[in-house]
Each structure stands twice: as C-alpha cells, then as structure tokens.
C-alpha cells in the first residue's frame, strides 16, 4: 500500500494508481478533458493539473502515478487558475459556435467551460477549417476539434484501422483522414466510434430528421421499426439511469409522432435467426465455408469488404434484421394490406451510424435511418413529455410478435445465443433445456464456447470491436481457426454501445465510476437480458407470426422466395486511398 496525502488528509491506496484514479476512489473530482480511460492518457490538455508538494511544476493527474509520501493539492488558487488558463487557451482556437452545434448541451468542452468558470476570451489566429460532410454519415468539423486524439486512438487501437491521425504541426495541426480527405474517400467502416469518444462536436453522426418530417407531411404510409438496443438507452436522454428499459414509453412516443405502424426489429431478428441458423446447419453438415460469420452488423460488413475481401465467403448471406423486416414490409405486409409498395416509407430507429450507409446498398427496402439520439431529439421536437407517457405495446398485426432471442440481438453475444437456441432445436428436435447460453455472454473482447449438440461438437466465438475481429479473421486466413460459427459486432459491447446511442461520458458518471465507462455501458445489456428472461416465447422458431410468415408466404427458410427477399451478397472494396 502507498500512503499519500490529498488536500492534507491521509489516505492509502494500492500501488500503480494515477493521481486521478486515486482521487476518484475517494470521491475527489478533478476536471479532465482529453483523458479517456485506456485510450488517451497523454496529459495534453493540461486541464487535470494538481499541485504536488516539493514539485517544481504542476503535475497532470491523469498520467502521473502516486508514490509513497506524496502530498497532493487539488484545489488551490494557483491550480484553479492554471486549469482555467489551459482551457481558455484551448478554446481560443475553437469556433465557439455552440448555438448551432449538434453537440450543444452534450459537449464535454462546453460543460467544462461552465464548471471552470471560464471568463477570458483570447482572440488570435485560428487553424484553417475543414468541414467534411460528403459521406452523408459522419461529419468532421476541424474548427471544433481540440486535438485530444481520442478518435485517433479509438480508430487505431480499438478498431485496429487507423483512418484518422494528426496532420501537420503547430497551428496547422488537424485530425483528419490521410491528406485531409473525406471519410467517403478512405476505407472507413462508418462504425462511428470516433464520434462516441469525441468530447466536442468535431466528429458527429449526420442527422436525417428532416427526411422523416417530409415523409410524414407527404401523407405516406410511414412504418417505423426500432432496434432492440434502442429501448435500453433512449431513457438516458430523458434522465433515466443507464440500463432502464423504456420500451413502453418509446412505443407510445412513436405512436404520438404519427407513424402508421410501430414495429420492433426483433421480428426481423427472429426472421434472421430462422435463415441464419438454417444456413449454419447446412454449412456445418456439408463442412463448407466454415467458420460461418454473422452479417447483422454493417460496420463489420464494411470492414470485411475492405480489409478481408478474401474471406467474404465465410459471411452469412443473411441481410441484417431491419433490412429483412423492411423487405417483408414492402412485400408481404404491402400485399396483405393492399398498399402500393411505393407508398410505403420504412423508417428504422438504429443505435448505429453504419446503418445509415447500409440502407444505400443496392438491395435495400429501408428508406430512412434515424439513431437513438435522433429519436430522442424528435420526441423533444414534438413536445412530447416522455416521462409522463403511458406504456404502450408494439402493433401486433403480421409482424408484431417477437421472441426473447430477438431482444438480445442488441448486445455482444446476443445474436450467437439466439442462433444457438434455434440451431439446437433444429439439430435435436427439442428445446435447449436451460434456454440461455451463459458462456457467450459478458463483456470480454473474445468469448468462446464449445457445445455438444446431439453428438456434434460445435465451436463458437463471439467478438466485438474490430481489432478483436481481426484476430479471429487472421486465424481463418492462416488456417488455424478452430471455430465453426463466429459472431462479430464492430462496436465495443455491440449495438448497445453503437454510435447512434447516447454518449456515456465520464462527466455524466459519479466520481467513483468515472473510470468505468464500459462497465456502465454494459448495464444496457442487462436491460435486454432481463426482458428476454421475462418473455413467454424465447426462441425465434417459436414466434407464431414467424411461423405464419413462412407458412403463408416464404414457405420455408432458404426457399427461393426467402433468398430473393432476405439474402444479399458482398463484394471486395478497393481500400487504396489513391
């Protein structure tokens, strides 16, 4: 143990903690800006300064470790003024356009200026601005960038890609894709994790709210479907604790907004499982194109097409759940309700930025993709008092039912578990007794499980974040992969932590929890597992409306009709930048 004094009070801590970590443990808050646990601990912004006795200079708390006998002062006059000065200098090269910024009131920099009581404003030369919104998915505005480097580390270390980096030096320094190119001209997967860690509005997900308003005004038949992860995070935008399931209120709000039908993508998830489990069993029996890899995640599909084009035959050909549901809405649903396909607008509420790009693939039936945050903004725009809403249920005709298996699609391990429930049934003709496959749950980067199904040994892996994906993909390339079936989600923790979800920043967490952003995010997964547990139907193949869809329309999984509507193909993308 190490004995130190903080603000004249004695404490002892285990070895190896930074000053910041030690202070957090005893509920002493130190302001931070560039710091992001496990990503950036450079001390660049110099906002976390503290005074250490007998030290000539002030010390950055985020990257200096405590030592025996250390005496730290966190709130002296000099320290408070030094932090404030650091921040004032940072914002001297900032556009200060808070009023028309999409991160307004959801900005770590803005919150900090209030917290540190910034009063001075320096005027001087500013870095030349680049605004890149050409991709239509991600927007980069260098005039709001504070050069913390979080996005760079996220893309390089966690996702293993490295689209972004610092360029130039001095006042000309910017964070950009190579040669300040647009996201659309570099092999970006649009996972949007860079926007999740950006403390300002420099990197954001482009909004499409107006497209929806236009569709509603034109009197189209607008059908909305919400992804499983939305219910577990939307509440945070209305001050509910992380991990609150607000499904009932969300449905109620969507009905008030004026959608003709409010459906759950969970139906599409159940449909995906029917197709995907069948596909897996077929490949497994023939020992063809194994391991099979899930295809629900568009960030992952972009990654595979750009970086592992030689392994595209391993991907399931299933479209993602909302694309499947979109296809069914514009065929089966349209026919039964006698509505012209062209008069239907399908809107997906997604926790994801890459889904906005996915809808532009050539075989799509989804017209508009909005994120969780956009839905929250829409609810506020319509003046709906979310907290006072009565719970309502999804529309229950044709594609309204869903199983617990569909619900857990929103978290890492969920797609695999849902697929295993149905694959087990298909191979054994009986339900898996325990229902849950606990060993594919949890927040570890790579999870593996081995199952004995009717004498068949099935080895599965579940990975999230693309750097972990590249590890299992390299094994396939080298011929050393021991897996039969792999689930990949591009975002750390899966869809619950997608770029469309509300940001969880350390500033929103209790002091003691500030270093546990991922742990707190995983509470959203618990909300989904809890809902699954409460469901009467927990396997996709037991969803009565799925059975009906097959008997009345699609015939059987992998039928020619199912292939036409529910499956897709992938193609190599040239990732060269010139």
């Amino acid at each position: 143990m190490i004995n130190i004094k903080i603000n004249n009070k004695e404490y002892s801590f285990e070895e190896g903690l930074t000053i910041l970590e030690a202070c957090h443990k005893v509920n002493i808050d130190i302001p931070t800006l560039c710091h992001y646990k496990d990503l950036v601990q450079s001390g660049n912004c110099r906002v976390c300064l503290v005074e250490v006795k007998n030290n000539r200079n002030y010390v950055t708390a985020c990257n200096n470790k405590i030592y025996e006998g250390m005496e730290i002062f966190t709130n002296t006059l000099e320290i408070i003024e030094a932090r404030k000065k650091s921040l004032e200098l940072i914002i001297s090269n900032h556009s200060l356009e808070c009023l028309n910024c999409s991160s307004n009131q959801n900005c770590e920099l803005q919150a900090l200026t209030k917290k540190l009581n910034v009063t001075e404003r320096y005027h001087g030369q500013k870095t030349e601005t680049t605004i890149d919104d050409l991709s239509g998915i991600l927007t980069r505005d260098t005039s709001k960038c504070i050069l913390c480097g979080r996005c760079i580390e996220m893309c390089k270390k966690v996702q293993g890609i490295g689209i972004l980096d610092f360029e130039n030096r001095g006042l000309k320094t910017i964070v950009a894709p190579v040669a300040n190119k647009s996201f659309k001209d570099v092999p970006c997967t649009y996972c949007g994790q860079c926007t999740k860690v950006c403390p300002t509005g420099a990197l954001t997900v482009k909004e499409n709210i107006r497209d929806l308003l236009v569709a509603l005004k034109e009197g189209k038949h607008v059908v909305v479907q919400t992804a499983p992860a939305i219910r577990a995070a939307l509440g945070e935008e209305f001050d509910y604790p992380i991990g609150t399931n607000v499904e009932g209120k969300m449905v109620s709000a969507l009905k008030q907004i004026g959608f003709s039908k409010v459906y759950d993508v969970n139906f599409g998830a159940d449909l995906t499982i029917m197709e995907e489990a069948t596909e897996f069993i077929e490949r497994y029996t023939k020992k063809e194109n194994l391991p099979m890899i899930t295809s629900c995640c568009p960030g992952w599909i972009n990654y595979a097409e750009n970086y592992y084009p030689d392994l595209l035959n391993h991907l399931s050909t299933c479209k993602s759940p909302h694309m499947m549901e979109g296809a069914i809405i514009k065929s089966y649903y349209a026919e039964i309700n006698n509505i012209n396909k062209e008069d239907i607008v399908v809107v997906s509420i997604m926790p994801c930025s890459a889904k906005k790009e996915e809808k532009d693939r050539n075989d799509n039936d989804v017209d508009i993709v909005l994120t969780t945050v956009e839905l929250a903004n829409l609810i506020k725009l319509f003046g709906i008092n979310f907290k006072d809403l009565e719970d309502e249920k999804f529309d229950n005709d044709l594609l309204g039912d869903f199983s617990g298996a569909g619900v857990i699609f929103g978290t890492t391990g969920g797609v695999m578990e849902a697929a295993l429930r149905t694959a087990y049934y298909s191979l054994t003709n009986q339900e898996y007794e325990k229902i849950s496959f606990e060993n594919v749950r949890g927040s570890e980067g790579i999870k593996e499980a081995s199952l004995n199904i009717n004498g068949n040994e099935v080895n599965v892996a579940v990975v999230h974040s693309l750097s972990n994906a590249s590890k299992v993909l390299d094994e396939i390339r080298n011929g050393t992969s021991k897996y039969d079936f792999i689930e990949v989600m591009a975002c750390p923790l899966g869809c619950i932590n997608g770029a469309g979800q509300p940001k969880i920043t350390s500033s929103k967490l209790e002091t003691k929890e500030k270093d546990n952003i991922l742990f707190n995010t995983y509470k959203r997964a618990k909300a989904l597992y809890d809902e699954d547990k409460k469901m009467n139907i927990r396997q996709s193949h037991n969803n009565p409306q799925i059975k009906e869809l097959y008997s009345k329309y699609l015939q059987y999984p992998h039928s020619p009709k199912a292939h036409e509507l529910l499956h897709t193909s992938y193609s190599k993308k040239d990732k060269k930048i010139i």
């Binding site: 980096d165 610092f166 190579v178 930048i577």
Partner: protein, 164 residues
Amino acid sequence: MISSKSKEEIYNIIEKRKNMETPLMMILSDIQNKFGYIDLEVQQIVAEALNIPVSEIYGVVTFYSYFSLKPKGKYVISTCFGTACYVKGTQGIIDEFCNKLKIKPGETTEDGLFSIDILRCVGACSLAPVVTVNGKIYPHVKIADVDKIIKEYKDKEVLMNENS
C-alpha cells in the same frame, strides 16, 4: 504513377530498414534523400509494407519539415527565420523572393527551378540575415540582393544549357 524501378528501390530501402526498432523515420529519410520527396503513393507502399495506417505515415511526413510531399526545385532557397535574422529583416527578404518568383514558402516554381524554404535557425547569427541556396551561404542579405541571387542561378542555367 511511380515507375517500377523506383518501386523496387523503395522496397529495397524498406527491406534494409524494416527490422530496426522504429524503422519508419529511417525509411522515410532514405526515401526523401533518394527521391527528394515522399508523395501519397509512396506512403501507401510504405504503409502496406510495414502494416501501419497510411494516415500515421502522412502525419509523420507533414510533421517534420525535412520531409516533402512534392518535388523540390533544382535550387532550394532557404531563408533563415531565427530570432537574429528575423530582427534583421528576414520577413522582407522572404516576401521579395515570393514576389519575384511568384510562389509561396514551401512551393516550387512552375519550371521546377526554384523552391523557397523557411529555416528555423542556420546557426550563423553574426551573418544575419542569412539565405542559403543549395548550401551556399549568402550573408547580410538586403532586399536589393534578392534579384541578384535569383539572376545568378538563372544565368547558371543558361550557361549550362548552352554548354550542353
């Protein structure tokens, strides 16, 4: 497009250096020395060979003024921007070079003859303000000297062309 011969030379440089602890700086220096510049195409080759993102290489190339993205002129006019030279009027001399050659610092004239570079300090403050052209030192330069310096190299070119 880069020629296959140049490509081979780049691969040789990478091969020679790639097992060093931090090979990137050495590889880029060698390429800069050999070809005089490191454009995006070359950066892409190095990125693939070392398996690091091209954005990172671009970051290094644009951080160090030693590296250049574009070919430099045959005669590189380097003006010292150190404190002593600055006080003695470097700015006016740079402006004059820019005016006469119709380029900005860091750029190259259309005929490929001249580039203007800004140096931080040559280390010859007693000679301030200092200009060097391909290593040749011009001490105590006045604005009126700029024309003479440019003429010296233009004349040299004419002479060389006549001789050949």
